[in-house]
Assembly symmetry: C2
């Protein structure tokens, strides 16, 4: 990848000290990253659950390679553009957890199916299934899982009865292969997921339909994945970097957050106000139920109360003692790491403050 | 620019119909764009105000060229990376409205000052001024404006007295040139801006210090810019595309919103719920005080009540009559257009639904 869009830009290089790099800059701690990968894979291994990392969090093929080398089986994408980038990088087992519609996307999905071993998608309606069926053939059918709304309130058929009916529709198509069930549940609703899977499988068993994959997902209550014994695999993305919302969910400790956004105090207009050079174009406006836009590690009592595009407004009124000076560099743990990744063309990795590598966020920004 | 990160991706081409393009896709109506540029420039011209468009909204040099050809004098950037891209594209009069700190940035600012005719920055503290002073020389001094907090509550000196003191500090440096005053005010506070400018100029007049530029800014109450007669120029970014928040502010009508995000209904899990393929990675989570995440033109009574990364959850309960079908394409007017631009590598332009051009969003995603 050509990093230089303009003459004077120089990306960070291995060996650079983070303390010398321009801010705002998201950085990833290699040791925390490796530990997060290992910890979750070990848990999955110990419970005999296949683990399928969601690459939406990082969008970087070399990170997915680390996840697979640790033991993950296949990857999870949310968009065809992501899947194409990861197919180019050699990944052969890709599940796209999205209802794919429209001629352009279907044609590309068919092309993708020709060049990787094991492409799978989901569907929650007969409209989606019918659209898919028209673009594949019995020679290499596309594997389709039925997406189930087990309480998450997003996509998905609403009942096991509907799930079974849609599965029958997939089975009836010679160009599609019924792969099983998929859900993206609310956190801590393992019993509801288990019930939905069991009930649907019971309906399908009557017709002799095998339901090979039962795919559960999510990071927040990931360490309860074993409470869905019917599941055959679990999908999760955020766990690789972690963020403030995962600390709040109890998934990890603050020290397990691999991503920090480096920022600089650029103004101190009043004793109680500091302005940082990281705004909504570095942190995003994702609140995720927090009352502010990220946690400043050096000043945990400070609150990022407002963002404009390139500035954060910080309320220091609760900071006793020393308050930050103009020019001081601070680190922010973002509310939501996946959307931060999506803002930057590159991601900088480090070990103990020394840059180890800079990776292109290869699957971001693609719209066609 | 090489648009293709992977083999099967094909960007839209001139002549393509929007109705055939993959979603989610932000698109810009050429005629509305041209009308927005003309309308604001005419207003500025009629009041003898210099107009300096902020390129943060589009980050596309050819659009800034349109703005300058319409009569704008110079451009406004928020980051050095933006200024570098626009300098490469031939722009010679650039104001960066940011307190620039840190060795790397200062060195690059000095390099930029060598290669364009008229670079200007702002400062609101003696720390920023001292940092700048060390990187420039009397041979080609850097022009520095004092940033004033006239009630906006972000950066800026707090009083005219402080503004004058900082201006004296700039004047005292042989490597800097005092350029004047700059503010980014709250909307509809023209009297406060005028007062701040007049009072500061009065203090400086005592010392015989000329205050050549008085730079006011913002789109929401842009058409009140003439109520600050002391201002010599006005800066604005959002007006070129406009968005839902500018309609609410009374700056424009819904028909003046040049940006729509094309999206597709991918799921209808219940009678009252639709799911779109545009999530926080297409719309951003910017609420800007709205209770939902954008306006669906075809279903104005529908509400985008939730976003995940690639899905929008739409509440249809208030939609009487026909509700959207799976596969139906809709158009969203975003709450905030500037942050949407920042998510995409390219922007697609059209006239009456036919693609006219695809431009690289050249100044986005740069972190060093």
């Amino acid at each position: 990848m050509d990093f230089a869009k303009h003459s004077s830009a120089q990306p960070p290089r291995p060996g650079d000290l983070l303390s010398t790099l321009s801010t705002p800059l998201p950085v990833i701690d290699e040791d925390v990253l490796a530990s997060n990968i290992e910890r979750v894979q070990s848990y999955m291994d110990s419970h005999g659950l296949a683990f399928r990392p969601h690459i939406k969090t990082h969008k970087i093929p070399s990170l997915a390679r680390q996840q697979v080398e640790a033991g993950a089986r296949g990857i999870n994408c949310q968009k065809i553009t992501e899947a194409e980038v990861f197919a180019d990088a050699g990944f052969e087992d890709i599940l796209i957890t999205f209802n794919i519609l429209g001629e352009q996307k279907l044609a590309r999905l068919a092309a993708l199916n020709e060049r990787i071993a094991d492409l799978k998608v989901v569907a929650d309606s007969i409209v989606t299934v019918t659209g898919l069926a028209a673009y594949f053939t019995a020679r290499k059918p596309l594997t389709v899982l039925v997406e189930c709304d087990t309480g998450g309130g997003r996509c998905g058929v609403q009942t096991p009865d509907e799930a079974a009916a849609l599965a029958r529709g997939i089975v009836a198509s010679r160009s599609l292969k019924f792969g099983g069930l998929m859900t993206y549940p609310k956190a801590n609703t393992e019993a509801a997921v288990e019930h939905f899977f069991i009930a649907t499988m019971a309906y399908l068993a009557v017709d002799g339909i095998d339901c090979a994959i039962r795919s559960n997902g999510g990071t927040p209550s990931l360490f309860n994945a074993h409470l869905v014994p019917t599941a055959t695999e679990h999908r999760a993305g955020t766990y690789i970097y972690n963020d403030r919302s995962m600390v709040r969910a109890g998934h990890c400790a603050l020290e397990d957050c691999a991503m920090h956004i480096l920022a600089t105090v650029v103004s101190r207009p009043t004793p109680e106000r500091a302005i940082l050079d990281a705004g909504s174009k570095a942190l995003t406006s994702d609140l995720l139920g927090f009352g502010d836009y990220g946690l400043i590690l050096e000043y945990p009592d400070a609150r990022i109360v407002g963002l404009s595009e390139e500035h954060a407004t910080v309320d220091l009124s609760r900071v006793d003692g020393i308050r930050p000076d103009i020019g001081e560099r601070i680190r922010i743990v973002p509310n939501h790491t996946c959307v931060v990744s999506n803002l930057f063309d590159t991601m900088t990795f480090h070990r103990e403050g020394v840059v180890t590598r800079v990776e292109a966020v290869a699957a971001r920004g693609l719209v066609w």
